[in-house]
Amino acid sequence: MSSPRVNPSVAPSQLYFEDVELNVSLETPGMTLTAAHVTLFIGMTQDVSPRDNGLVPDLLPLCLSSGLGWRVPRPPLVVLAFMGFEWRFLLPLRVGDTIRSISVTNTKRSLREGGVVIEERRIVNQRGETAQAGKLTLLVAKRPTS
């Protein structure tokens, strides 16, 4: 008996457009927002928008969720480009809060080169309250045909 060319018990190392499952909720580990995050972020961006002490910059949690998004129990998605997003800022987040990100893909649209994936994402705090939420549009590679 010949052995199968692909061992089905081995998870694929990368996730292509065809592999993306709809309506599966993926939750990331938590990340505690620290003064170090705020200092680094403000230093990089020079964003001097007024805020009181302890409030983190509005865009920082979204940026952190982009890294957290890779730390989910599924192989990394082969993203060709981030096309855009719509986002709402619902609750203030402060240094000391711990965020995590929960996302669900609810739309897939195949194109000639790759496919569009629309992901609903929300950032929740340590009490499970949604602090920021929206949808992100990604261009994802199709599985190579060779």
Partner: protein, 169 residues
């Protein structure tokens, strides 16, 4: 007490914050629909991209693997889209009245083209609307922004809504 009130309570006059040159002030009444602003430029460097990967934890090959990217659509590493967004927020805050970049309520954003390492970007913004907020004394300012590179190409664009307080609540 609203978020904006807390800003005033702790920092006094927000117009005195360092680096903010704010001809139009920080209140709802100071914002004029139709007014346009152009920010200073900033060159997006490899250092920016490496630091942003470290801060965000987004080490996608698009931003970190020069060899892989030689064979890609872009031919080289590109900046994270959200890095471009974060940098433009900082640039905009150097060119606009404080009121136009107060606390964010909503954002719609499109990444139209890559920001390559070494590109110099600046922001053009326009105040497009004012409306009542959810709470009394609160107003929402809508701002359209375009991020342009040194060739005049729009690499990112979108619309943001900011929460403001009225000077006379």
């Amino acid at each position: 007490m609203s978020r904006i009130s807390q800003v005033y309570a702790t920092s006094g006059d927000v117009l005195s914050l360092p680096f903010v040159s704010s001809p139009d002030g920080a209140f709802f009444e100071d914002v004029k629909v139709g007014r346009e602003y152009t920010s200073p430029g900033r060159t997006v460097t490899e250092t920016d991209v490496v630091l942003f990967a470290g801060l965000s934890g987004d080490y996608n090959v698009l931003h970190t693997d020069a060899e892989h990217m030689k064979g890609s659509l872009f031919g080289e590493r590109i900046a994270h889209g959200l890095l471009g967004l974060a940098i433009q927020q900082g640039l905009a805050s150097r060119g606009e009245p404080t009121a136009a970049h107060a606390l964010l309520a909503a954002l719609k954003w499109k990444f139209k083209g890559p920001i390559r390492l070494g590109d110099t970007i600046h922001v053009r913004s326009r105040i497009v609307g004012l409306k009542e907020g959810v709470k009394p004394g609160q107003q929402l300012v809508t701002v359209e922004r375009q991020v342009m590179n040194q060739r005049g190409e729009v690499v990112q664009e979108g619309e943001s809504e900011h929460v403001l307080e009225s000077r006379t609540p």
